[in-house]
């Protein structure tokens, strides 16, 4: 029995951060000591499988004995010995360390299409991908179908661009097909720039061949002979795996001349992004691939007519391409069976923030926010009241707690002033200040503005200045009106999507959390106690134990006090950094 035992330790980025390597070492040592033979493998690592998603419970350890799988959570190196002794030697799993109900509910509501193979197959092995019917869809299309038929299938599936704007993919391909020119390009946008979304990275790391297969099918449909993957240089593992996958596909003849024995030639090159959020915008991305500054240009002409090197170009994002093989294999009807009337299929979200089970999830469109947050996410981590969820990143908005029952799809989120976007979903609780959240996103878009058009370049700067004023207690009565005017002007007049959506975080928080803005401006108070400039710190003399922790922590010498005498904070010297509040073990530092 012992020889059949397989132990898999999570070694994804999160697993490594949580100490996965040490856990593996502990297993090796403990197994030798106990004289048990078992295979210890890395899960989610560069040699085995992609990430499963529930990173918050790391280090996750799976023990496979025959068909029985036991999963432990939060494993630290010092816990390994007991697992070996009790489970492997004595045959009794340690019940209190097993994953709980949350682990099951995390997966119950999810439907995995894009992430289906992530975590199941070895992403660096093309055989593993072919074993799960990989490249069958591409073979079928290239050898048995006409491009028009493939486009029709994709159209009927209802798949819409997963990069943010939700443009129907089949329609885009059709426009690409109809566009005149012998040289056409297809580009996979993997320049995931939304701070708080990492599904594209996960998909490429977990199932790079699915993306390549999707691109082959897309290229065949529109008649493109050259493809590019534009990917962030900050994702070295994804780049590495993609390179390997491309080499493997080329060796098998799935890329290159006469693919699958057909007359179709196609190959893919990798271009590394150099760190500019705006390059997620199609025309900026094209400029960047051409080696220039990533400044968007006005549309029309659209890239499908005049794109890369002035040739017809179709750009889709990673998740969109990864959906394609499954759609072709299972048929458009199968895919359209998920989701709502206008938003078909599934969508991957990066669920983060103050949530109990942060991680990557894939759900059918139309699922409610409540199901995602309460059932999959397990609710708020701190137990503090849920306040809002921010979707769509810097172009999206904040949806308040009162709207938890809305469906998550393109139309419903747009209706409440947010967007699906690339799929960032950040959960906020009562400790989060909505003005601060708005400020964070404006700070981001402002620093990522390319600077080409005036409304975005200067306008977002003025919005940020106003928000900075408000959050430091210098807000003026007419600042809300000023914000609204700026937001309206920037939305209407900006050149590209970045500027046109940059005001959304401000507008949506103004809509649902206006009282917080007013508290900052009129009462000079931050209700969530986040905005530094609006807080004052003092020490409660009655409970202060004079331990000196705050005195040592204070960077500005504002705390004074001797041993055994209550300490004091000099308000004039205080820089309101909150260090004293954080270090006090007795709750004696008041923050108001």
């Amino acid at each position: 029995m012992a020889s059949e035992t397989l132990i898999r330790v999570c070694m994804g980025p999160a697993g490594i951060a949580a100490g996965g390597k040490q856990v593996i070492e502990a297993f090796h040592a403990a197994l030798v000591d106990a004289g048990v033979s078992a295979q210890v493998r890395e899960r989610c690592s560069s040699h085995q499988v992609g990430c499963m998603g529930l990173c918050a419970r790391d280090v996750l350890v799976e023990v496979h004995q025959g068909d029985v799988k036991t999963v432990y959570q939060y494993i630290k190196p010092d816990m390994v010995q007991r697992i070996v002794d009790e489970h492997l030697v004595a045959g009794k799993p340690i019940t209190e360390w097993l994953v709980d109900e949350v682990y099951a509910s995390f997966y119950r509501k999810q439907i995995k299409v894009v992430l289906a193979d992530c975590g199941r197959i070895d992403p660096e092995d093309i055989d593993a991908y072919e074993a799960v019917k990989g490249y069958e869809a591409a073979r079928e299309c290239l050898t048995n179908r006409r491009p028009e038929e493939v486009i029709e299938e994709v159209k009927m599936s209802g798949l819409r661009g997963r990069g943010g704007a939700g443009f129907p993919t089949g329609l885009k391909w059709e426009l690409g097909r109809k566009s005149r020119g012998d040289d056409k390009y297809i580009i996979c946008n993997a320049d995931e720039g939304d701070p708080g979304a990492f599904m594209d990275r996960a998909v490429i790391e977990g199932s790079p061949h699915a993306v390549i297969e999707g691109m082959i099918i897309g290229a065949f449909s529109m008649g493109a002979r050259n493809g590019y993957v534009y990917i962030r240089a900050e994702y070295p593992l994804a780049v590495e795996r993609l390179k390997k996958a491309l080499d493997q596909a080329r060796t098998r003849g799935y890329l290159g001349k006469g693919i699958f024995g057909s007359a179709f030639d196609f190959d893919i090159k990798i271009k590394l992004g150099a760190g500019a959020f705006v390059c997620g915008e199609e025309t900026a991305l094209i400029a960047s691939i051409e080696g220039m500054r990533g400044m968007p240009r006005p549309k029309p002409p659209f890239p499908v007519n005049r794109g890369l090197w002035q040739k017809p170009t179709v750009i889709n994002n990673v998740e969109t391409f990864a959906n394609i093989p499954a759609i072709i294999r299972n048929g458009c009807g199968w895919y359209a069976g998920f989701g709502t009337d206008k938003s078909k299929g599934t969508k991957v979200f990066a669920l983060t923030g103050k949530i109990k089970n942060p991680g990557l999830i894939e759900v059918p469109m139309g699922i409610t926010l409540r199901e995602i947050i309460e059932e999959i996410g397990g609710g708020i981590e701190s137990g503090r009241p849920f306040k809002a969820v921010q979707t769509g990143g810097p172009s999206g908005g904040c949806i308040p707690a009162s709207m938890l029952d809305i469906a998550v799809d393109y139309e419903s989120l747009a209706k409440v002033g947010s967007i699906v976007g690339s799929g960032g979903m950040i959960v906020l609780d009562a400790d989060d200040c909505m003005v601060n959240v708005a400020k964070y996103f404006v700070q981001f878009t402002q620093s990522e503005s390319c600077g080409k058009c005036v409304p975005c370049r200067v306008g977002t700067k003025r919005v940020l200045e106003t928000l900075e004023r408000i959050t430091t207690g210098k807000g003026k009565e007419d600042d809300i009106e000023r914000l609204e005017k700026l937001a309206g002007g920037i939305k209407a007049m900006s050149l590209c999507g970045l500027g046109q959506t940059a005001p959304n975080p401000v507008l949506s928080t103004l809509k649902y959390f206006r009282d917080e803005y007013e508290a900052h401006i009129r009462d000079k108070k931050c209700p969530a106690k986040v905005c530094k400039g609006l807080l004052t710190y003092s020490i409660d003399e009655a409970t202060c134990k004079a331990c000196g922790a705050c005195l040592r922590a204070c960077p500005s010498g504002a705390v004074s006090g001797e041993k055994k005498k209550p300490h004091r904070i000099d308000a004039a010297k205080c820089v309101r950094c909150g260090a004293c509040f954080e270090v006090c073990k007795f709750g004696s530092v008041n923050r108001e």
């Binding site: 500019a276 400044m295 006005p298 990522e448 600077g451 058009c453 306008g459």
Partner: protein, 349 residues
């Protein structure tokens, strides 16, 4: 070339289908405000002032980059559009020094003119302004980047017309600026094409400084004397001194000049300049004389040499700075007058 019909502000027009809306409007006498579009340069689409409404299109579009289409119904002025334009002007001016009083470009500044037209003072969204301590030390072009509105015309003219690419956009967002490589002092041909297309006071001639703007300034259209190309120039003079040379955009050289034509004028009022002929006497000293005397003196030597050594002992070298007519006369003089074919010209600048 195919033609398309469309209406702008209710006026039905027919234009070639490769025009933009802005070009079509301008051709039919309809002006649309803009700052970043220069007629001789490719469109940029950054200032957003040229937005128009197209029936059926949900948001305002930049007319400088949108091609015309059959049946388009375009409106260039609505209350909403004018408000949008005011908004953009407010933002531009909120990051612009309010120093028209002392600015070299007052009166010839497109930004100033638009602010005046729309009554925008730039105070509504006042905030941080870009400040640059370092000034460019080159001898000809004053680059005041605080006045730059990042329209990109200078970058385009340097690339598309002059082919030099001395400058480009640098950085991004609010920190964007037009810069040379490594922000060194400008070290280019100094043709000043960038100065010519700049719509504000960001680029001016260093020689112009404090010499006069429009009050008491006389403008004289003439031809550049430097070479046979014969660019049309406009000499700005005040108190009988040349204070600036420009070229009008509708001249055959389209307003473009070279460094000599644009900045090489101070010799005109230089104290070292010769204004009377001199004859070197036997003593070796130059002696001032009259034109008649000087020409007679020269002619007598020509005659003497021809008589003693034959006409081929003489040769004539003309200048590319002369006009065709002048050069024609010169070779005629050499061939028919002197009697030699020894005639050439410098033919280089």
């Amino acid at each position: 070339m195919a033609m398309v019909s469309l209406t702008i502000n209710g006026k039905k027009i027919t234009v070639p289908d490769d025009l933009t809306i802005l070009e079509a409007a301008n051709r039919h006498g309809i002006a649309i405000p803009n700052l970043c579009k220069h007629p001789q340069l490719t469109p940029f689409g950054g200032c957003r002032l040229c937005v128009v409404e197209i029936k059926g299109v949900p948001r305002p579009v930049a007319s400088c980059t949108t091609p015309v289409n059959e049946g388009m119904e375009i409106t260039t002025v609505t209350e909403q559009l004018e408000q949008h334009r005011k908004f953009v002007l407010e933002l531009i001016l909120s990051d612009h020094p309010n120093d028209c009083m002392t600015c070299e470009s007052t009166g010839s500044c497109q930004l100033q003119e638009l602010a005046y037209t729309y009554g925008v003072k730039g105070q509504e969204y006042a905030g941080e302004r870009r400040t640059y301590a370092k000034k460019d030390g080159n001898p000809f072009i004053e680059r005041d980047l605080e006045k730059c509105i990042l329209c990109g015309r200078c970058v385009k003219v340097c690339q598309e017309i002059q082919g030099v690419e001395a400058i480009d956009f640098g950085y991004r967002g609010f920190k964007s600026k037009i810069t040379t490589a490594y922000e060194d002092d400008l070290n280019c041909e100094f043709c000043g094409q960038c100065v010519h297309v700049c719509p504000t006071g960001a680029l001016t001639g260093k020689l112009w400084k404090r010499k006069g703007r429009y009050e008491g300034v006389k403008e004289t259209d003439t031809v550049c004397p430097y070479c046979g190309t014969g660019c049309n120039i406009t000499v700005h003079s005040k108190n009988n001194e040349i204070i600036r040379i420009t070229s009008r955009p509708w001249t055959w050289n389209e307003g473009f000049l070279c460094v000599k034509g644009r900045f090489g004028y101070p010799f005109v009022s230089s104290p070292d300049r010769l204004t009377k002929p001199l004859i070197k006497r036997k003593s070796g000293e130059f002696e001032e004389t009259t034109w008649t005397a000087a020409l007679e003196y020269t002619a007598s030597w020509f005659r003497k040499i021809r008589e003693e050594h034959g006409p081929d002992a003489l040769g004539g070298l003309s200048s590319a700075r002369c006009t065709n007519e002048e050069n024609y006369l010169f070779q005629k003089f050499m061939r028919a007058g002197i009697g030699t074919n020894n005639v050439d010209h410098c033919a280089r600048l």
